[in-house]
């Protein structure tokens, strides 16, 4: 099939699904809605696969295609088209989005079976997929921004899906506003980049970027990259704008899986990778990206240590993992970042769906303190979740191991990275292992603390099937990026000679090489790998010790470090800080502005002007006292005044 038709179908299918479901939004038939929604995304997925295949058949240099639809907007020398870019990078994203998306749609059929507005739900989901595709496929920054805002919008709608609950509605709004802050940065980035380069088209930007030489602080490119990164911070929930993501868990769990774990939140990473030729010439911006990523990874992981809401733990974990991706992107390991993006999409979607399955089974309960021992009640969910656990903590050869390791290794090795960053990354890996193990322990293993009135049960097939697929992907997903160094492995090394680093190869032409990266010894790489593994192993053991039912070590620790514990439990009081120091003052200030400037100043001035005129009128009235002698007196006084005034004759 013609590639253009394929791409158009790919994009149009979810839109069509959205329209169909949207117009029958009153429908309460979850099956029909679900089938329409899922079918449209599966269509997309099939097309994506076809696109991928057709791209793969092309020679490497010819894998950068552009599908021009129409001129969108033009002003002066600014031109933006509606056009799609089909290249290895976008195809990876297409596959992830439509693939994971299909599974989550499928899962949703089961999950939303009891909801009374399923059509609306699937319409939103389809709309999201459509916008995500726009984001990924857009051949210029402006079109990317369309998708960028669009996914934010869908996220808003889906978080607030159960809008009768003010809190959930508020969470949606928080997500949208926080994203908007990022979007404002993104816009500024577009402006800056446009003014520096004269174009917003990716192809032209790539051509232009290498010609940039200056890289001083506040040089246009650096500024542009920083602004764009602010956009990414908002969308991908990095410090300081991560606060919306945990709240976003208010939405239905499949939404969390799709939007807030697998796809939308990774848009920031995608954007940076998409613009890698530009970022690479702005090392200062890269430095910021890396540090923000690393700090977020660590910071979020510490919060995740103490959370009791199953989805909150996963949410902070997502923030943390996103931090990894930015760390990778920041040190120039764009490929590794993409790699982690993909594997993370698999295992985090899996874990969210698993959590969804658990919540579904627990009749909406999300507190892990009220779970435990679910292993027996929900075997499939447990198994798949277990695979996800292995993947996220980075146990070889599960997916997370390869991607995380590549990021950490490149952090160490890249001239853009540093040991400090590596240390933070390593520590985060340990923390991740700890809180994930804790999650496993409290949820699935150990004694059951389930309240009596709740009867957990395994989810239906429509839900477990996606889990299984994702479980499989969590296992094998990492094998597309097996590092070359494995070939050096003593003993089994020969085995890896024939396993190429598929991903690296695929993205080869899309990514700029890290400038000045040195060849490193295999031994160093292995020792780095080993130390990470060591930390992970230690953390798992520590977690098991802490949360084993026999000793209440965890409680003792939390008592001993009660201050720290409270700090973590309350998420460093960041939300409270934002509310009390920024939002409330802003509202108070607005009220003040309105009262004091509008009502009491500008309007008052108007009134004062009126009063002056009126007062003058009253004065005139007073002069006009009815006494004709006074009138005559005014005449005389007027005559005298006038003559005096003219008295310099």
């Amino acid at each position: 099939m013609d590639l253009n038709v394929l791409v158009c179908t790919l994009v149009a299918a979810p839109l069509l699904g959205f329209l169909i479901n949207g117009f029958r939004f009153r429908s309460e038939n979850g099956i029909i809605a679900g089938v329409i929604g899922t079918a449209s995304v599966i269509t997309s997925f099939v097309c994506s696969v076809l696109v991928w295949l057709s791209l793969a058949q092309r020679p490497e240099a010819a894998r950068f295609l552009r599908l021009h639809l129409f001129k969108w907007v033009e002003a002066g020398d600014f031109v933006a088209n509606i056009g799609f870019i089909i290249d290895p990078l976008s195809v990876i994203m297409l596959l992830v989005i439509t693939g994971v998306g299909s599974l989550i749609h499928l899962f949703s059929i089961g999950y939303m079976s009891h909801d009374h507005r399923p059509a609306k739900y699937f319409a939103y989901l389809n709309l999201f997929i459509f916008n995500m595709l726009l984001l990924v496929l857009g051949d210029n920054l402006l079109l990317m921004f369309v998708g960028w805002e669009g996914v934010g919008l869908c996220s808003y709608l889906l978080i607030g899906f159960w809008f009768t609950d003010q809190e959930k509605a508020a969470a949606g709004m928080k997500a949208f506003i926080t994203n908007r802050i990022g979007d404002a940065g993104f816009l500024l980035g577009i402006f800056m980049l446009f003014i520096a380069s004269g174009s917003v088209d990716f192809f032209e930007l790539w051509q232009w970027a290498p010609s940039v030489t200056e890289s001083a602080w506040l040089s246009p490119v650096t500024l542009a990259c920083i602004f764009l990164f602010i956009g990414a911070i908002g969308k991908s929930a990095q410090i300081p704008l991560y606060v919306w993501l945990p709240d976003a868990m208010a939405g239905p769990t499949p939404v969390s899986a799709l939007i807030h774990a697998a796809t939308m939140v990774t848009a920031g990473v995608y954007m940076i990778v998409r613009l890698n030729p530009v970022f690479i010439v702005a090392p200062n911006a890269m430095l910021i990206v890396a540090w923000v990523g690393a700090l977020t990874a660590f910071f979020a992981a510490t919060i995740a240590l103490t959370q009791n809401d199953i989805k909150k733990v996963l949410a902070y974990s997502t923030v943390s993992q996103l931090g990894y991706m930015f760390l990778g992107a920041g040190v120039g390991a764009f490929g590794a970042a993409m790699f982690h993006l993909v594997t993370h999409a698999f295992f985090k979607a899996l874990m969210f769906l698993g959590a969804g399955s658990v919540i579904h089974a627990m009749a909406g309960e999300q507190d892990i303190r009220k779970m435990g021992g679910l292993k027996k009640k929900m075997p499939i969910t447990h198994l798949t979740f277990f695979l996800g656990w292995l993947a996220i903590i980075g146990v070889p050869p599960f997916a997370g191991f390869f991607s995380k390791d590549e990021i950490l290794w490149l952090t160490l090795q890249s001239p853009l990275g540093s040991k400090m960053l590596w240390l933070i990354g390593g520590a985060t890996a340990g923390l991740t292992a700890f809180y994930m193990t804790r999650l496993m322990l409290l949820t699935f293993w150990g004694k059951s603390r389930v309240p009596k009135e709740v009867h957990p049960h395994e989810s239906p097939m429509v839900m477990t099937f996606p889990l299984m697929i994702l479980g499989l992907l969590s296992v094998i997903g990492g094998w597309i990026g097996v590092p070359h160094v494995f070939a050096e492995l003593p003993g089994i090394g020969g085995l890896f000679h024939h396993i190429p680093n598929i991903l690296e190869h695929w993205l080869d032409k899309s990514l700029s090489p890290i400038p000045g990266i040195a060849e490193a010894s295999a031994a160093l790489e292995f020792s780095a790998m080993a130390s990470t593994l060591l930390v992970v192993g230690a953390s798992v053991i520590a977690a098991v010790l802490c949360y084993s039912p026999k000793n209440n070590l965890s409680e003792r620790i939390s008592l001993k470090f009660s201050g720290l514990h409270r700090l973590l439990l309350n998420k460093y009081w960041v939300d409270e800080f934002y509310f009390s120091r920024i939002i409330n003052p802003l509202i108070e200030c607005s009220r003040g502005l309105w009262l004091y400037i509008d009502v009491n100043f500008i309007d008052r001035m108007t009134f004062v002007a009126g009063d002056i005129a009126r007062g003058a009128g009253s004065f005139m009235r007073g002069l006009q006292n009815g006494n004709v002698q006074y009138y005559a007196f005014y005449i005389v006084a007027g005559v005298v005044g006038v003559i005096m005034m003219c008295s310099q004759w």
Partner: protein, 175 residues
């Protein structure tokens, strides 16, 4: 020094001021009217001194003879006596009125003196007949239109005054 003309002028002037002052200050309107007659006669004398004999005569006839008599008649009609409140109240406003008027007087006086001292005056002595004849000629040639127009005015006043005096009034009068 002082010629007889000067002395006569001063006497008349003083008398004129006195009479004018009397008009304004007499509590009784009748006295005011009396002073007014005096002032007018005095001014008629001044007219004579200025060689305007005909005007002086008219002054006596029209003003003293007709206008003031009209005033007196009206006053007698009303049968008014001494008024308790002859002057408007308000010390401050009264002072202001006096002050402003005085100021006007001063300004006028200085200007006039200044003018008179610089102006070239032709004090041509003309006899009574000549002056009247000249006046008559002017009136019926150069100022003919004005003269005719005055007649309209007088008719207007006549008709108007009659209408006013016969006015019965509106609804209030009927009730």
């Amino acid at each position: 020094m002082f010629s007889s003309y000067d002395i006569v002028f001063y006497l008349l002037a003083l008398f004129a001021l006195f009479s004018a002052f009397g008009v304004v200050t007499s509590a009784s309107p009748i006295y005011s009217a009396f002073f007014l007659v005096l002032a007018m006669m005095d001014i008629a004398c001044l007219f004579v001194m200025l060689g305007a004999f005909f005007i002086a005569g008219v002054q006596l006839i029209v003003y003293a003879g007709a206008v003031v008599v009209l005033f007196v008649m009206v006053l007698m009609l009303f049968n008014l006596h001494q008024e308790t409140e002859a002057f408007s109240r308000g010390t401050i406003s009264g002072m202001a009125k006096l002050g402003v008027t005085g100021l006007l007087c001063g300004i006028l006086a200085t200007t006039l003196f200044h003018f008179a001292s610089t102006a070239k005056t032709i004090a041509a002595e003309i006899g009574p007949e000549e002056s009247t004849e000249k006046l008559a000629k002017l009136l019926f040639s150069d100022y003919l239109f004005g003269f005719e127009a005055i007649s309209i005015l007088i008719l207007v006043v006549a008709v108007g005054a009659v209408a006013l005096s016969q006015l019965k009034g509106g609804t209030h009068a009927k009730s």
